[in-house]
């Protein structure tokens, strides 16, 4: 369906204040949805698989959910999500989450089904632009092109919160285990295509936990998350040292794959401040276990937002992302260079951002955002800048203008 029709449809629904619930078997079913449309212009490198140097509006996403509280303790719900971000998503809808949630007590509950993964402050809400001041979250920690890698798992969570008393605040925890499943229209499979590797399946075990402390200092939160994964992928590929045989079966698998994240949030009056640090280490056997690729990503950001009025919010952040890429096995023997100098633009992206959000009404927001980026982080793992959209090479600096509007109800 053309994007403009979708946009008009959603705008109409939002403006008439769509009925948000209905009854089935005497149970209330809530319905909520969102739609967002973005436009990105960059002065140099093309970004996020779009032809942004020409100006691109290939940045659309939408979701619709239904949920019902069946008893005091038991709730069910599901959300469908679809997006098109340049070459990613390509309008292939997915089940974003579908959960049965049984909360036995405040200190313990169980969610089962396809569950959004709790990782840091915003992993589970990274698609929901209307919740954030920024049009794009700090891409070092929440890369839009790699959402599939962390967004959800099919499995279960145990969660709860404990009040530690007036002097100690509250502690909330989540522990999870499940299976991650990546769309073949996500960033990593797309990046591999430059080497004539075509993945048909990617995913694997994902487990971890999150612990967050609402400190006794009013609205000051700190937390830590950890995620372990065992990921494999398969498809077909041209093997570099055997290119004459054309496409052959391809697979890769994890030797190590973990993420940890530390975060803090402080809200006071009309101001809000966030800081997060994420490290992601991935040691993958690639090219049918003939070679290894160790990728080490470290990213952090600090952000601040200010509510100027009920309708206008301003924000700014600095996002710092570095990556190293080391090869072993046959690729190394063939002379594939290791990329370990994070001062090089191909190993980092430093992004300074300013943003304004205007809430036109309670359903509709509009954002304008400027990005001032140093580096393009071109390695064997995606980081927003892809060779396919930049065939003539990369410039060191990129300035981006992002416009984004969203409706939700």
């Amino acid at each position: 369906m053309p994007r403009w029709i979708l946009a008009v449809l959603w705008l109409c629904l939002a403006q008439v204040g769509i009925a948000q619930d209905f009854k089935v078997a005497n149970r209330t079913v809530q319905v909520h949805g969102f739609f967002s449309q973005g436009f990105v212009y960059t002065d140099r490198n093309n970004w996020l698989t779009m032809n942004t140097s020409q100006g691109s509006g290939a940045m659309t996403d939408t979701g619709l959910n239904m949920s019902s509280q069946l008893t005091d303790k038991f709730r069910v719900g599901a959300q469908v999500y679809d997006r098109n971000l340049g070459q990613l998503g390509q309008w292939h809808p997915s089940l974003d989450w579908a959960v049965a949630d049984y909360r036995l007590a405040d200190w313990i509950g169980i969610r089962a089904g396809k569950v959004k993964t709790t990782l840091g402050l915003y992993n589970d809400s990274q698609d929901l632009e209307f919740l954030h001041v920024f049009a794009l979250l700090p891409q070092g920690v929440y890369p839009a092109d790699l959402r599939d890698a962390t967004i959800a798992h099919a499995g279960g969570d145990v969660y709860g919160s404990v009040t530690l008393g007036r002097r100690w605040g509250d502690l909330a925890y989540t522990a999870y285990v499940g299976h991650r499943s990546d769309s073949i229209y996500s960033g990593y499979p797309y990046l591999l295509r430059q080497w004539s590797a075509y993945l048909t399946d990617m995913g694997g075990l994902q487990y971890g936990g999150d612990l967050r402390w609402n400190t006794p200092l009013r609205r000051f939160l700190v937390g830590v998350s950890r995620m372990n994964q065992d990921i494999s992928a398969q498809g077909t590929s041209v093997i570099p040292w055997d290119a004459s045989r054309g496409l052959q079966p391809y697979f890769e698998s994890s030797r190590q794959d973990w993420t940890h994240q530390f975060y803090a949030q402080y809200e006071i009056s009309r101001f809000s401040f966030d800081a997060e640090y994420r490290r992601y280490l991935r040691d993958q056997l690639i090219l049918n276990a003939s070679s290894a690729n160790i990728t080490d990503m470290r990213a952090w950001y600090v952000s601040g937002t200010c509510r100027i009025s009920k309708k206008l919010k301003l924000g700014s952040y600095y996002s710092h992302y570095t990556i190293t890429d080391v090869y072993g096995g046959k690729l190394s023997q063939l002379g594939e260079p290791n990329l370990t100098d994070t001062s090089q633009p191909r190993n980092h992206i430093y992004d300074k951002v300013i943003s304004a959000r205007l809430d036109l009404n309670r359903y509709w927001d509009l954002k304008i955002e400027g990005h001032f980026m140093d580096g393009y982080a071109k390695t064997g793992y995606p980081a927003g800048f892809y060779p396919q959209e930049n065939p003539t090479g990369f410039n060191r600096n990129t300035h981006a203008l992002v416009l984004r509007t969203g409706f939700h109800f």
Partner: protein
């Protein structure tokens, strides 16, 4: 005491009580609950946890369902006064929970009348209405403000009657009492620690009507009440 002095004293006492109630419940907002909710008091922290969907149970074990009024000045006042956030932040918070599959939006109603009607007919429902709303059929909960040091807060204070004989003779004094306050907040017992016995009797009678903020346990609180003849 002249009639005008007596009237003045009554006004002062009534004024103290009204200030106390206004401070507790807010000048614009009354927190109401279905009659199945056993408690008469709720702490600000407990109310916030309920409305932020962090708990569905009160300390006394009652299961509750928070209900919201749709946007407007009353909802703004409730959000600011009791939830420590503005109404837009609250809405964003709920959307964060709903769109990530981690909770459902509380029910929303359009008016005080609809709120009272829904709360009156829904077991465990808890909501809020404007100060002038008719609350027949529901109970109005006293909300205990938070104390940064964790002590119990006096929600209802009744001033003692100054015994006329002592007042005429100009006999003044301070009475010290030890109160045992129940978990719910009522004064269970009073022990006189010191002071004129006649003044102490008057003070004891008054403090038995005092009400404190609820707590997990019984507390012992020492109070001093001064009797002074006004010029």
């Amino acid at each position: 005491m002249t009639k005008s002095m007596k009237a003045f004293q009554v006004l002062i006492i009534a004024g103290l009580q009204i200030v106390s109630l206004a401070r507790v419940a807010g000048s614009e907002v009354k927190v109401i609950a279905n009659s199945s909710v056993t408690t008469d008091f709720i702490s600000m922290a407990e109310l916030r946890r309920i409305y932020l969907l962090q708990t569905r149970k009160l300390k006394d074990g009652s299961v509750v369902e928070p209900v919201l009024q749709k946007r407007g000045s009353l909802h703004d006042a409730f959000s600011r006064q009791f939830l420590d956030r503005d109404s837009e932040e609250i809405r964003t918070y709920y959307h964060g929970v709903v769109f990530t599959g981690k909770g459902s939006m509380p029910r929303e109603v359009n008016s005080d009348e609809e709120m009272v009607s829904y709360v009156a007919h829904t077991r465990g429902a808890i909501g809020y209405v404007s100060g002038s709303a008719n609350t027949d059929g529901v109970k109005v909960l006293a909300v205990a403000p938070e104390s940064s040091r964790g002590e119990r807060i006096l929600l209802k204070r009744v001033e003692p009657e100054y015994p006329k004989e002592l007042q005429h003779r100009g006999i003044e004094g301070t009475v010290r009492l030890s109160l045992t306050v129940s978990a719910k907040g009522s004064v269970q017992s009073v022990q006189v620690i010191g002071g004129n016995p006649i003044l102490a009797e008057a003070a004891e009678k008054a403090v038995r009507e005092w009400i404190y903020s609820p707590s997990a346990t019984t507390s012992t609180i020492e109070v001093s009440i001064q009797f002074a003849v006004r010029p």
